[in-house]
Amino acid sequence: MTENEYSLRFLNCELNYLSVTDGSAIFMQGDTAVIAGVYGPVESKLHKMFYNKANVEASFRPMKGPPSVNDRLMESYIKDVCEASLITSLYPASSISVNIQELEDCGGLLASVINASCLALINSGLAMKFIFAAVCCMIDKESENVIIDPNMKQLNNAKAAFTCVFDNLNKDIICCQTSGRFTEKELLKSIEMCRETVQTIFTFYRDIVTKYATAI
């Protein structure tokens, strides 16, 4: 394995980007950029209220146009991943909303969205069981090599693409999304490679949070 295979695109992040939200982050991975804002815990609407836990909502706004059916799936990924990591039972009968605005998609949008929402959740100070990070990878059509964190140009030559979300405790799989056709071996190998890369993102989180720690 060369060093290049495991490297991610350039990561960049700014916390407290929005003034009104309880936690916010603007996150860039290569040229893919998203803004995440978290509100919560706030009073929940009656019909969405749970007496024993918080209701987690996610909303995703695409770069242009109103949200469509295509974005519902993205919202369900964000909601389920955030809900898994938050200790929702600490905030009964309240609501936590995670809002994401896409700024630019140059490949690996889901991974960036998940990473941005994790940073926003950390920034909001809500109680979490673990933190999570997503890595996107793909299998090249011709060379059949696994490429970590591909850009849009590379994705056009993909046979299959995977996005995996891991927790920071045991590096277990929280979320997995695939496209294209692939074999079992390719899937397991790709997940393994994503897992080996994911520590870079956790280290990045740590650096960012330390950087802002004095300001908070």
Partner: protein, 273 residues
């Protein structure tokens, strides 16, 4: 006594069953419910199938219409899958516009169909840039008792397998369209994608083919879709983290189950034709 216990404390009811290594419906953890497939149940549709997985019942009907292809893909037809979770099937669903869940399932089914490359959209084109088929695949749940994505995928694949389209005579010069409804042709289906659902409970307990009660109390679900010789979709939207070992177990189990269901569909189709 048991039914009261189930109503009052459903989560503990499930847990107690699991503690004695059995599921509430008497199955073992890794066993499946019986699957039945009936093809061609709607005679007015161009292709249809009714699938039952245990109590879960789903019917799929395909109607074909003619349309002009998109300018960016002039030699491709369209497939529009749509899943309707009818209020009849579960008290969870209300009449009205499609719920978030049914929108998500529709999108998932569409992704499975595209990723599996089951149908070549080019085979739906009649005349380049002028005329192509649109296949409206309407999937309706009649009884919602868990693993509904499995049932939807199976019914869609079975319906596509027996789909026949009328032959169309198109004259580009005059734009006249002649449809011969008697003379019908099959659309080649290259793959039969089969989905398998897993649910995960405390202590990484894995069960296959969960019912609605089990799904509701599970900490996470995984959907794995297999083509004949490769995989085409893995979906785990969140929930409790799972280890790589458990993931590999799911894959092996999904492959075996996929092969069995695939045989079943082919048997059902062969009986019909």
């Amino acid at each position: 006594m048991e039914s009261q216990y189930k109503t009052i404390h459903p989560a503990k009811y499930l847990r107690d069953h699991f503690a004695s290594n059995i599921r509430p419906d008497g199955r073992e953890f890794m066993s499946f419910r019986p699957v039945s497939v009936c093809v061609g149940s709607i005679t007015k549709a161009d292709g249809s199938a009714l699938v039952k997985i245990g109590n879960t019942t789903v019917v799929c009907g395909i109607k074909a219409e003619l349309a002009c292809p998109k300018a960016e893909s002039p030699d491709c037809g369209f497939i529009v899958p749509n899943v309707e979770l009818a209020p009849l099937s579960s008290p969870k669903f209300r009449p009205g516009p499609p719920s978030e869940e049914s929108q998500c399932i529709s999108k998932l089914i569409e992704k499975i169909l595209i990723n599996s490359e089951a149908i070549d959209l080019k085979s739906l084109c009649i005349h380049k840039d002028k005329l192509a088929w649109v296949l409206y695949c309407d999937i309706i749940s009649l009884d919602y008792d868990g693993s509904v994505i499995d049932a939807c995928t199976t019914s869609l694949m079975a319906a596509l397998k027996i789909l026949t389209l009328p032959t169309v005579d198109y004259t580009p010069e005059t734009g006249s369209i002649k449809i011969d409804k008697k003379n019908r042709i099959h659309i080649p289906l290259k793959q039969l994608a089969i989905c398998t659902t897993f649910a995960i409970f405390d202590n990484q307990l894995l069960i296959t083919d969960p019912t609605e009660d089990e799904e509701k109390h599970s900490l996470s679900t995984i959907n794995i879709v297999f083509n004949e010789d490769d995989m085409c979709f893995v979906h785990k939207s969140g929930g409790i983290p799972v280890s790589q070992n458990l993931f590999s177990t799911c894959i092996i189990k999904a492959k075996n189950h996929g092969n069995q269901v695939r045989k079943l569909i082919l048997a059902a189709v062969n009986c019909k034709t």
